[in-house]
Each structure stands twice: as structure tokens, then as C-alpha cells.
């Protein structure tokens, strides 16, 4: 708790300091590659035969995903707090890579916790993190995935709280993380809002983004929150099907609980034990979800749907073939829902999909799923 209070104070101070944001903006531009394009996916649109589909190209960022936005913001905050040692958890490895990257850039030490199950299926990102100088610590407890990596990171943090900064990668965990990570990721929605206004002369009808912990989706949703006509759709991972129990559709199938210091929807059994999850996309494989999403759900501001492994894989291939873009498996869930929905909408309507990451990391999984030996 004292560590959280220290973090909250430091973040509140940084937030009011224009020089903090000036550095964030300048590195976002020169180092991370912002702004990212808002791209009209013309062939995909034609293929679906309905609403115009625009892609917010976070996959073009340095390190290949939106995770760098948050890692940069928190990295700068850690340096400001004079914490030399950074710890992070990672699921798919995208946040781990982003954290390792920012630590290399800022000259900070980096330790990344990663579930053994995820290490196995994201070997390329494991190698990347090591190249970037991070120490990787495999987590063998529990389900050996993201939630257990967060457990271990929190245990490390309470042990080494004096000199260590915990760079949490999503809008989950205890306050102030959900708010702070949202603020750093809101750059996505702020840009998208300006871009869609200048390219189309109006706001979109729908914004669609995938939801694991929920950072890319909150990042694109939040700046539109007062634009009441813009509808938000969060797409969760239905895995092998919500009814099979092998999924990660927390908002669709979960109940209220407390996990990692936040009260939100959680996948749990009748006794309050947290359940294991499954998704073809490691970055969505988490039994909790950011509390702000739970709030959006409760007030009806956003709708949450679920897309299964098979549908995500089909959308992955569709985007490769219609647009020459290889998406990560996580946003492939959002692409799938957008493609399905677009056909039923009028051609004048506009859908913005947050393409949160690039698919290079997923080549092993996709080739295996398609039965192709590399």
C-alpha cells in the first residue's frame, strides 16, 4: 500500500508537469513512431460489403504493438522516481518486449516475469527480451500464464519495494494502474479522433477493439467517451467456445470479484477460486479485466462480445490477403467481429478497428494451427 501511495503521488505530480508530457510526446514521435496512421481498409471493406472499415495502425509502432505507449510513460515515471530496477509481467511477450526496450533506452535494469506456458508459445519474444538486456524469470506456479506472472511480479515488488518500480502492462491491478495506463494509452484514441474527423469529416459509428486486460481498447475508447453516438464494442476471446469453459471472455461470462487488487469482473468458480483461461492469443489469456471496462459494461457505454479461436484465425488470414497486413492474433479478434458486422451495416457507416499489434510474434502458432510446418 505505501508503494501504491508513493506511485499515485508521483504520477499525480508528473501529470501536472508539462515537461513530463513534452518528453513523452517527443519520444512517442521520434522513438516509438507516433502518430500511427488511421488507414482506410478499402479491399477489406469491399470484401465485407457494408460499412467502411478503418484500421488504427498501432501495429506499426516500434516493437510492433501499442504496449510501447504505456511502457514509455511508466519508464519515464520510474526514472523520475529514481527507481533503477524495473520489473514487468508479460503474457504474449509484447509488454515484456516494450518494457525491455524502454529500459534499454533509458538505461534501467529490467526483470520480466513470464508464465512457462507463454514462454513456450512466444519464443520469439522471449529471445527479443533477452537481446534487449532484460532478465527473464519463468513462472511455474498456478496456470503458468499471465495472471501468475502478475502474481510473481507483485511478490517481487513487495519484497524489493524500495528500489523497484513495477511496470504493469495493462489497465488492471490496484489503483493507480488502471487510470495511469489508460492515460498513457489514450494517445491512441486522441489521434484516431482527430484523424477520423479530418479524413471523414465526422466521428465513427463504431469503435471495435479486443479486450484481454483491456489497455488497447480503453486507450482508443476513452477519448470518445463523451461522444455519445460513437458506440464501443470490446471483443473478448471465446477460445474454444464460451460454453466449453476454455475461454477468456471475462465480461461475457464472468462475475464480480477481486483479483490483483482490483474489483472487477473475474472468471471464477463457485468458491471464488480464479479459473484458468484459454485463447489462441496469449495477450487475451487473462481471467480478469480492467475495472473501467466493467464500469462501461454496467452503464451500457460499451458492448462486449466474444470471438473464438477459429474465427480469429480466419480474420487473421482475411486481413493478410485483402490488405497485406499481418495482424497479431489479439486484434484479429476485433477484425473478425468488425468484418462480420460491417456487412450488415450501411455503406455510409464508419467502423474504426484498433489494430493493436503486428503478427510476426504469432507465426509459430498460426503455422501450427494451419497445419504448416515451418
Amino acid at each position: 500500500m505505501p508503494a501504491l501511495q508513493e506511485l499515485e503521488r508521483a504520477y499525480e505530480e508528473a501529470k501536472r508537469d508539462p515537461s513530463f508530457w513534452a518528453e513523452f510526446d517527443s519520444l512517442s514521435h521520434d522513438y516509438a513512431g507516433r502518430p500511427t496512421p488511421l488507414y482506410f481498409a478499402e479491399r477489406l471493406t469491399r470484401h465485407c460489403g457494408g460499412a467502411k472499415i478503418f484500421l488504427k495502425r498501432e501495429d506499426l509502432l516500434h516493437t510492433g504493438a501499442h504496449k510501447i505507449n504505456n511502457a514509455l510513460g511508466q519508464g519515464l515515471l520510474a526514472r523520475r522516481m529514481k527507481k533503477q530496477r524495473i520489473i514487468a509481467e508479460t503474457g504474449a511477450g509484447q509488454h515484456g518486449v516494450a518494457a525491455a526496450t524502454i529500459c534499454a533506452k533509458l538505461g534501467l535494469d529490467c526483470v520480466v516475469y513470464m508464465g512457462e506456458e507463454d514462454i513456450h508459445r512466444q519464443s520469439l519474444n522471449v529471445f527479443r527480451m533477452k537481446l534487449l538486456g532484460a532478465e527473464l524469470r519463468p513462472v511455474a506456479s498456478g496456470t503458468k500464464t499471465l495472471k501468475d506472472a502478475i502474481n510473481e511480479a507483485i511478490r517481487d515488488w513487495v519484497t524489493n519495494v524500495k528500489d523497484t518500480y513495477y511496470l504493469l502492462g495493462s489497465v488492471v491491478g490496484p489503483h493507480p494502474y488502471p487510470v495511469m495506463v489508460r492515460d498513457f494509452q489514450s494517445v491512441i484514441g486522441k489521434e484516431a479522433r482527430e484523424q477520423v474527423l479530418s479524413q471523414c469529416g465526422r466521428l465513427p459509428d463504431y469503435i471495435i477493439a479486443c479486450v484481454g486486460g483491456g489497455s488497447n481498447s480503453i486507450g482508443i475508447f476513452h477519448p470518445f467517451v463523451n461522444d455519445k453516438k460513437v458506440r464501443f464494442i470490446g471483443v473478448e476471446a471465446a477460445g474454444k467456445g464460451v460454453r466449453t469453459g476454455k475461454h477468456a471472455a471475462t465480461l461475457a461470462a464472468g462475475t464480480v470479484g477481486v483479483l490483483h487488487g482490483a474489483k472487477s469482473y473475474v472468471l471464477q468458480d463457485d468458491a471464488g477460486q480464479i479459473l484458468g483461461t484459454h485463447s489462441i492469443a496469449a495477450g487475451l489469456d487473462y481471467p480478469g479485466v480492467g475495472p473501467e471496462h466493467s464500469y462501461y459494461k454496467s452503464i451500457g457505454r460499451a458492448t462486449y462480445v466474444a470471438v473464438n479461436d477459429r474465427e480469429a484465425l480466419k480474420a487473421f488470414q482475411l486481413l493478410c490477403q485483402t490488405e497485406g497486413i499481418i495482424p497479431a492474433l489479439e486484434p484479429s479478434h476485433a477484425v473478425s467481429y468488425a468484418a462480420k458486422m460491417a456487412g450488415s451495416l450501411d455503406k455510409k457507416q464508419i467502423i474504426v478497428v484498433n489494430l493493436s499489434g503486428h503478427g510476426d510474434k504469432d507465426m509459430d502458432i498460426v503455422s501450427e494451427a494451419l497445419g504448416v510446418e515451418l
Binding site: M1, P2, N151, V158, G272
Partner: protein
């Protein structure tokens, strides 16, 4: 005065509080160990309800929780075990549980069941006082104590908050970190206990990392109670006859006399 608080009224007596995970290695072990520990002179028994994500625990208790869960040890089962034990032992029993199983059970209903089955109090390591109002009211309604925790990293403001709200005793975490046997105690332990002592008359019990009679003795010089968990869990697994665990607890008791 609650049954827990009255443990600490004995002059020149340091309370010994063993922790065991309910159902580890078996439910039978729990049912046998608690009366044995009581007969050795333990003052309170801390019964751990296993949880899938025990954030405050090190490898030993994580593993014990995992195995107990595998055997179907739910909060409901823990309540049944507590009911049997409270009929056999006189000393207070407290549950140590993470918050989510309580929330799922329903805080009010859980406290009502605890009182019915003879549980005297709750320790909830992931529940800070800021979030504890609901459970606190339920514990009060059912005559249970709710023990809050402090660590050496706690600020003065936090010490004031916890000393004001904790009931039964205050749980002082001996170090910054998770549970688990350690070779050495934190160097600043005495000054930490002293700084809390200045602000409260409530009993102070020290846990996390205490794993030998020598360490317990050092803790007893400044605290009102000593909590020992992981080392006992290790011994329960090593020797299922409970002989090793009992002789260890006996040594702890003697070290505190």
C-alpha cells in the same frame, strides 16, 4: 473482550500462533494437528483457506494451497473443519483468507457461518482498511475480530489507520516480502515493532519468515505473539506422522517461555 484479545492478557507470556493450510497435506492432518498443537500450548491457531492466487505467500504456502485446492478444499469445507476443531479445542481459531473467496461467499453470510462454527477472527492479507468497511461491519455484527496487517514499509499515517481499526491483535509482517522460512530476520525488526508499540496498546504479533526457535525468541523480546507458518507446513509434508511438526512446535513453545 474477545477470546483472541484475552489471550494476550496473561503476564509475561508470548502467544504462539501456528499457521496451517486447511487440507494440507490432507484434511485428516488438519484435524489431527490442531488439537496436538493446542495441547503443546499454542495460544491461537491460524487456519489458512487455500486460494488459487495467494499473492502474499511464498513457494511453500503456494504449493500447499495448490494441493489443498486439488483436493476440493473450499471455504465451505474449511468451515466444516473449523466446526469439528472448535468442539475439540479451547483456544481461538482464526481464518487467514484472501478476500475473493469471502466476497464470493458473501461477507455477511461468511461471517455468520464463521461465528456459528466457532471461528474467532479473520486475517485477510489483501484487504486494506480502506476497502475493509463492509467486512468489518459483518465481523462486528457476528462478534469476530478482523486483524489488519502492517509491514516495515508502512508509513506513520498507515500505522495510525491500522492500529485504530485492527481488532484482536495487529499482524506485523516482519519484512518487506512474502511468507516463507528465512535464515535471518530483518535487522530493523525491533525498531519497527517499537514504532508501532508507541502508537497502540493493542497486542502486536509478528509473522512472515519466522522459522526457528532462536528467531521466535528474538521476536518474543519485543512482540506479544509469534506466528509461524511455512516451516510447519514443510514439516507436515516431510513427516506425515506429525511427530516432527509437533516437536518443532514444542521447541518454539519452550523458546518463548
Amino acid at each position: 473482550m474477545s477470546r483472541i484479545a484475552s489471550v494476550f492478557t496473561r503476564a509475561n507470556h508470548t502467544a504462539l500462533i501456528p499457521y496451517i493450510t486447511v487440507g494440507y497435506p490432507t484434511i485428516e492432518t488438519t484435524l489431527q494437528a490442531v488439537p496436538l498443537f493446542a495441547s503443546i500450548g499454542c495460544d491461537i491457531i491460524e487456519l489458512g483457506i487455500p486460494f488459487s492466487d495467494p499473492l502474499a505467500d511464498g513457494a511453500t504456502i503456494q504449493q500447499a494451497s495448490h494441493e489443498a485446492l486439488g483436493q476440493g478444499v473450499t471455504p465451505g469445507v474449511c468451515l466444516e473443519v473449523a466446526e469439528k476443531l472448535s468442539q475439540q479445542v479451547e483456544i481461538p481459531l482464526v481464518f487467514m483468507t484472501y478476500y475473493n473467496p469471502v466476497l464470493k461467499f458473501g461477507p455477511e453470510q461468511f461471517c455468520s457461518k464463521c461465528a456459528e462454527t466457532g471461528i474467532d477472527g479473520l486475517i485477510v492479507p489483501d484487504l486494506p482498511p480502506e476497502e475493509g468497511r463492509e467486512l468489518e461491519e459483518s465481523t462486528k455484527r457476528h462478534g469476530l475480530d478482523l486483524v489488519y496487517l502492517l509491514s516495515p514499509a508502512s508509513t506513520e499515517e498507515r500505522i495510525r489507520l491500522v492500529t485504530g481499526r485492527s481488532s484482536g491483535f495487529i499482524y506485523l509482517v516482519s519484512l518487506t516480502g512474502v511468507t516463507g522460512a528465512r535464515n535471518r530476520l530483518h535487522a530493523g525488526l525491533e525498531s519497527f515493532v517499537g514504532s508501532v508499540r508507541k502508537r497502540t496498546e493493542k497486542p502486536l504479533c509478528v509473522g512472515f519468515g519466522v522459522s526457528s526457535p532462536e528467531q521466535a525468541k528474538r521476536v518474543a523480546k519485543v512482540a506479544d505473539g509469534v506466528i509461524v507458518g511455512s516451516r510447519i507446513i514443510q514439516l507436515l509434508d516431510e513427516d506425515r506422522s506429525l511427530k516432527n511438526a509437533c516437536s518443532f512446535v514444542k521447541c518454539l513453545r519452550e523458546a518463548l517461555l
